[in-house]
Amino acid sequence: MVAAAAVLPAAYLVIVCADDLVATMETILRARTLAMALRSIGLAVAVTATAIAIAVPVAFLTTRTTLPGARAWATLLSLPVVIPSYVGAYTYVAALGPSGMLQGILEPLGIERLPAIYGFGGAWLVLSLFTYPLVLITVRSAIVRLDPQLEEAALVASRSRREVFRTITLPQLKPAIGAGGLLVALYVLSDFGAVSLLRFQSFTREIYISFQSSFDRGETAALGLVLVALTLALVALYAGTRRQGSHYRSSPGAVRPLRPVPLGPWKWPAIGGCTLLAALALGLPLGVLLHWASKGIGDAVDWGAVGTAAWHSLLAGGLAAALAAAAAISISVLVVRHPSPVSRLLERAGYAGYALPGIVVALALVFFGTRIALPLYQTLAMLVIALAIHFLPLAIAAISAALMQVPPRLEEAARTLGRGSLASFMTVTGPLAATGVAAGAALVLLNAVKELPATLLLAPAEFETLATQVWTETTFGFYEGAAIPALALVLLAAPPLYLLSGEGAHE
């Protein structure tokens, strides 16, 4: 059931394309289609590598070392995940554009123009800064679940920390790094707002042109199918990272915290690095938003409307997170414990929901919503289902990585002792995978609150969220007005991220 719902976006594309197979093939085989796909793949590879390079060290610093204020750092450095990438890109263009704020500051020094932030470089920078938290959140939750005994044993066997990290720790984290990296790559493929503002011609931009300018649903769907194919290829690649060996703890029992690694002289460089990252990924966008907000605050801000919108965002996002987490648990159990070609295909096709641009997912649900679920259409329930389907892969990635670290022997033991499969899951597997479930639900929540296209099409009429408020104001060119709901989004995200970062942070 759940998996079937997750493949609705892909099914919609197939249905539309089946209308005119010749035109579909023509679109897919155009030289331009291939060229744009290659550009997007190039960007996805660059951003994913960068996000992993940023996130893995930060994940270790905030879980395994004596970094002062580890929990606060983990929260702060996860927060950029909630800044919609088009807002992030806006702030970057405003700050670093050819005649942006930085140029204004440098003007007295005779600098009249800055080198353009536009193109591949800008898209790479901005997308890396706003997607690395996807890896950070998945990897942190995995580090917390690691079995410290293996590492301790290796250390006792007088192997160096570096060697232990390379031979013991890193291999166990591969599924989580792979899952986080996959999410980043899919996000880059799906993103339209940031690449468009930063003038990088990407595959998704191609989809928008066909949909926005020629109103050609066949062409849009054909291009969408190419994205689905790319997704399946990426997911297959990721599956490679979790195939080798087992990743679960050899011994049962609660996770004991490992003694943190003293940073010693590395403390200051570590703090410096975290500060720099926070300044770029959070400080700069928040600074620009605050600057805009301070200009707009003179006008009467309708705080009531912002409050209602925040509640709507939280309501829809929270329910979507709960639904997606529940669905992801059942899919992950199926895939991790009972692998079969069918379960694998369903899981992989489900990832397409995250790689497709939001508008395509939204239209797919409009199509099915008005045909098979009309009473629910444009109700809160419909919106929640749509958000859950769209972001289900986030939950699956985090939760299946967690399940892989739970030894199946434990569940088997519970069943031998007479527990049903549900009961053994609830009492044995569930608690052991809890950090993964929490990370998955949080990822869905944080993405759902900033989601725009599906919210506009599927929410009850006049159901304003923070994201729709940001959209209304930026569409009108009123950045002062957009800044306040955008800041509210960040405030909304802070408490769940703080709770999540409590895991494994040494105070």
Binding site: L197, Q212, F215, A321, V366, A461, G477
Partner: protein, 343 residues
């Protein structure tokens, strides 16, 4: 223990949310089933609340009940209406540009409007099939910043391919109004002239932007000196800040400053056709037309309503004889923009 505690807190939060939802979803399914006589009409609007909010309020006061408005991007709403098919809740589609209206007309999803409604607007600003009607007009102008002397400005947009404008001009190739402008150029001046213009602009290092507003803001910031935009965006900025450093110019030569429209139509199979028609009719009323003129700075399209006196009068702007909603014409424009590298 922190793990168990976090899980417990998250679970409690979710439970609270679920409880909150129960109340809401109990009511919401009732909406579509409500007797049609009681529910107001549903408008899908590509024009956003800051643009038309007061007008909607006025209409609700007038008819003494609420209407439901779904705001979104014009193209997305058009696609939504097509995907919804016969089950669409929409009674009226109020679009930001004629291309989207044409897409709905093309799919046979509009009802014909009454002749009396159509005839209030000059024929060049409504559907040739009588399925949608323009509600306000916007001219394609050259916006320019403080570093430009007005005597530097060219006779027509073709002058912008000159060396003196290298790297100083912005356009928005993804924008529907821009594409309609190129379509008009192809149909009036010929495909070759249009291609030469597009390629000349690209060779002259034209700067691509997201939309009209981004161009306007880039001119204000000094990033570029001029740009091709719809006229009323500058008036909107000046309403916020009278010293806003951007002016508009109506090039008199060649194509001139072609006028595009926002418009509306009644969705086929609407269960409240009268209510829907009444709303479209209202958009052409004196109050509404005056609202577009004074509040959004657009051209009113109904005879006898005065436009902002600082604008070049509508009648003096040369208008190419094209159907603004002809999708097939647009295909050729997209092909041109793609193959020249503008898109």
């Amino acid at each position: 223990m922190p793990r168990a505690r976090t899980a417990a807190i998250l679970a409690a939060l979710l439970a609270a949310l679920l409880a909150g939802c129960g109340g809401d979803s109990d009511q919401s399914p009732a909406d579509p089933d409500a007797p049609t006589g009681e529910a107001g009409i549903t408008v899908y609007s590509g024009r956003i609340p800051p643009e038309i909010g007061p007008l909607i309020d006025l209409y609700e006061q007038r008819i003494g009940r609420d209407i439901e408005v779904r705001f979104g991007e014009t193209a997305a709403l058009a696609a939504q209406i097509v995907e919804e098919g016969e089950n669409t809740p929409a009674d009226v589609f109020f679009a930001q540009d004629a291309g989207a209206l044409g897409a709905i007309q093309d799919q046979g999803r509009f009802e014909r409007l009454p002749a009396a409604t159509l005839e209030r607007v000059p024929s060049r600003f409504r559907s040739t099939e009588g399925e949608w009607v323009g509600t306000s007009g916007r001219a394609r102008v050259i916006a320019y910043g403080e570093d430009v002397n007005s005597d530097e400005l060219p006779e027509s947009v073709f002058g912008l391919t000159g060396e003196e404008w290298r790297g100083r001009v912005g356009w928005a190739p993804l924008n529907g109004s821009f594409q309609a402008f190129i379509t008009a150029m192809r149909l009036t001046e010929g495909d070759d002239v249009a291609r030469d213009f597009v390629e000349g602009m690209l060779a002259n290092d034209v700067q691509p932007y997201e939309n009209n507003i981004a161009i306007r803001d880039a001119i204000a910031a000094g990033e570029i000196d001029a740009g091709l935009i719809n006229h009323y965006y500058v008036a909107q900025a000046k309403a916020e800040d009278p010293d806003y450093p951007v002016e508009i110019y109506f090039p008199p030569g060649d194509l001139g400053s072609m006028v595009n429209v926002a418009g509306a139509g009644v969705i086929a199979g609407s269960d409240q056709p009268q209510g829907a028609e009444a709303f479209v009719e209202f958009l052409l009323s004196r109050e509404a037309q005056q609202f577009f003129s004074s509040s959004t700075g657009e051209y009113p399209l109904v005879d006898g309503i005065r436009a902002d006196p600082s604008l070049v009068p509508l009648g003096e702007i040369p208008q190419p004889k094209i159907d603004l909603s002809e999708i097939d014409d647009l295909e050729g424009t997209l092909e041109l923009l793609r193959s020249s590298g503008a898109l």
